[in-house]
């Protein structure tokens, strides 16, 4: 096992990983930018290194500073968290070149999965179902046009190098295709430095269902059940729950075994997520693989009782999987709500300011993962996630009621500070959501657009 792990991230996930390290007797090294120079956060690490100014590209995305910090402190592994460098195959390679274990899949596997067209090709070859559309990147507008005509409208254009809901565009009619195609290419080039796009059929009323997987270096892989992440706005998740509700056991079994098969076929190692779109007939289609720990991994932890970061660290250290599929027993229901510092009245624009009062909920089966506290300054530099509230109950309705109770206790206030809590409570109270009859269309409907 590792002796010292550098955590190349910030916020709640850096704390999450530091806590796992402490529980396993591993020393942790935290890194921070000038904007995150906060003793109440930094106390969670055994050592800390100031790596750069607030701008992410000069701090948390600065591979050289992170590698230097790791070698200065004598760390033997790097945990990338999510976001930032977590899915950067070049960074994974640089870690290895500097005798550091990168806690994640091998660089070449990550590279193949990060390129969505390669990932689609790989999964198609393994017999995973894909939505009708272009498997490879589109080369010309003419190709996009004929592909879209063949698939039928509406279609969605996605960036090959995309992720995090950015660079996606839904096209409802042939007349809008050319503008959307060119705009999507320009956006992809600007945001991801790679202008390639592909298109597939757009399913408006679908469910976003994903499978948590865990694989070791010896060809063993298991899943930790499913999560439904259909409550999204602008393709960014707000509420996640597990196991995915209102699906037959046969569908759940099929989707989980498909994911494990796909993961093992491509030599995936570590913790990852296979994302699927499920239509109203419970037919599912492969979307993409997230080759890292996810924000919502907590949901899987709550329904299985397995600490994913503990297992992730063991697997990365070369320990064979300590669990077999039979050991994984999904019990009850868990929900996670993302409390973001955002203003619902200004199209969920991130808000910044001093959080004067930050009183998270407590009580039975209620977990709050956060780096914030009363007096915390929410800055403009990073994403707006303030806290994750996760609850567990024996059944879904019990979990919804518990979450409603927990969010009611949660107070986040300060001048100019707004959060997603009111919006989350509207979803929880929604009739369709309570009956688990919702789809990815739920938030647009509640917002009236």
């Amino acid at each position: 096992m590792f002796k010292k792990v550098l955590i190349a991230n910030r916020g709640e996930i850096a704390l999450r990983v530091a806590r796992a390290c402490r529980e396993l007797g591993i020393n942790s090294v935290g890194v921070y930018s000038t904007a995150d120079r906060d003793d109440l956060v930094l106390r969670h690490f055994d050592e800390v290194v100031h790596i750069g100014p607030p701008a992410g590209r000069r701090s948390y995305l600065n591979a050289a500073a992170i590698i230097e910090a790791a070698s200065q402190t004598g760390a033997d592994a790097v945990h990338p968290g999510y976001g930032f460098l977590s899915e950067d195959p070049d960074f994974a390679e640089v870690c290895v070149d500097n005798d550091l274990t990168f806690i994640g899949p091998r660089a070449e596997v990550m590279g193949a999965l990060g390129d969505k067209s390669t990932a689609r090709r790989l999964m198609l070859d393994q017999g995973l179902p894909l939505l009708p559309g272009s498997v490879e990147a589109l080369r010309t507008y003419a190709e996009a046009k004929s592909e879209a005509d063949a698939v039928g409208y509406p279609i969605i254009i996605k960036a090959v190098a995309g992720g995090g809901g950015k660079g996606m565009s839904v096209v409802h009619a042939p007349d809008d295709l050319e503008t959307a195609y060119r705009a999507a290419r320009a956006t992809a080039a600007a945001v991801f430095g790679d202008g390639r796009v592909y298109l597939e059929r757009y399913v408006a009323a679908a469910r976003h269902v994903e499978v948590q997987i865990l694989c070791d270096h010896y060809g063993n892989g298991i899943h930790l059940g499913t999560r439904d992440c259909s409550v999204q706005r602008r393709h960014q998740k707000l509420i996640e729950e597990g196991p995915a509700p209102a699906l037959s056991q046969a569908t759940l079994d099929d989707i989980t075994s498909t994911a494990v098969r796909g993961a093992l076929a491509i030599g995936f190692t570590g913790a990852g997520t296979f994302e699927f779109l499920v239509d109203e007939n419970e037919k599912f289609y492969f979307m993409e693989v997230n080759a890292r720990l996810q924000v919502e991994h907590t949901v899987s932890e709550m329904i299985t009782g397995i600490d994913l970061v503990h297992e992730q660290l063991h697997v990365a250290a070369g320990v064979p999987l300590r669990l077999s599929q039979q050991d994984v027993e999904v019990r009850g229901h868990a929900i996670e709500c993302r409390v973001n510092g955002e203003d619902p009245d200004r199209d969920f624009a991130p808000t910044a300011g001093l959080i004067e009062r930050f009183i998270p909920p407590g009580g039975p089966f209620t977990r709050v993962d956060t780096h914030a506290f009363s007096g915390y300054r929410l800055g403009p530099h990073y994403d707006s996630l303030l806290a994750k509230v996760i609850v567990w109950a024996p059944d879904r309705i019990g979990a919804l009621n518990r979450m409603e109770r927990a969010l009611g206790e949660f107070e986040v206030s300060g001048p100019g500070v707004r959060t997603t809590i009111p919006m989350l409570r509207r979803v929880l109270a929604d009739f369709e959501f309570r009956k688990a009859e919702h789809s990815t269309a739920i938030v647009p409907r509640l917002l009236g657009n």
């Binding site: 790596i51 500073a65 230097e68």
Partner: protein, 168 residues
Amino acid sequence: MTDQRLLVELRTHALGLADELSGALRRIVVRSGDTEIEVEWQQPTVRPDAIAAALPAAAPQVAAIAPVAAEPIADLIESVDENLAAIASPMVGTFYRAPSPDAEPYVSVGDLVRKDQPIGVVEAMKLFNPIVAECSGEVVEILVKDAQPVEFGQQLMMVRPTDTDGAR
């Protein structure tokens, strides 16, 4: 956005004043429209000019300040030697005082340096990055040892700037 930040800034200042200055408070008014802090104390002892002087330079203009007790206000300002300039590391790496192990150090305490003169190197990812003086002056203290790991922003040296900038 700027208004918001200004308001937060003003608020912090008002609360800071309330904390630091003695005497029971009667009321605080913070306004961001035309920028205003109003602090009113119970017992009036007049020293408004002193308060205004004690506010940090970057603070917005104070429109109205109510009377305060004549307590030491110097506490409001952090006591740093304003005559010294720090040279900080621009990156994480290893600091070296000399270009090679057997070479003379770039500078020693007491040396006069010119603006942009190399004072050391920080090695990061096997690249040697020259660190230069940001102003002309006398090196009064070297805060890190040769071959010491340094963080971003870590102070390496203190320089007493000379009035005339030597670099032309």
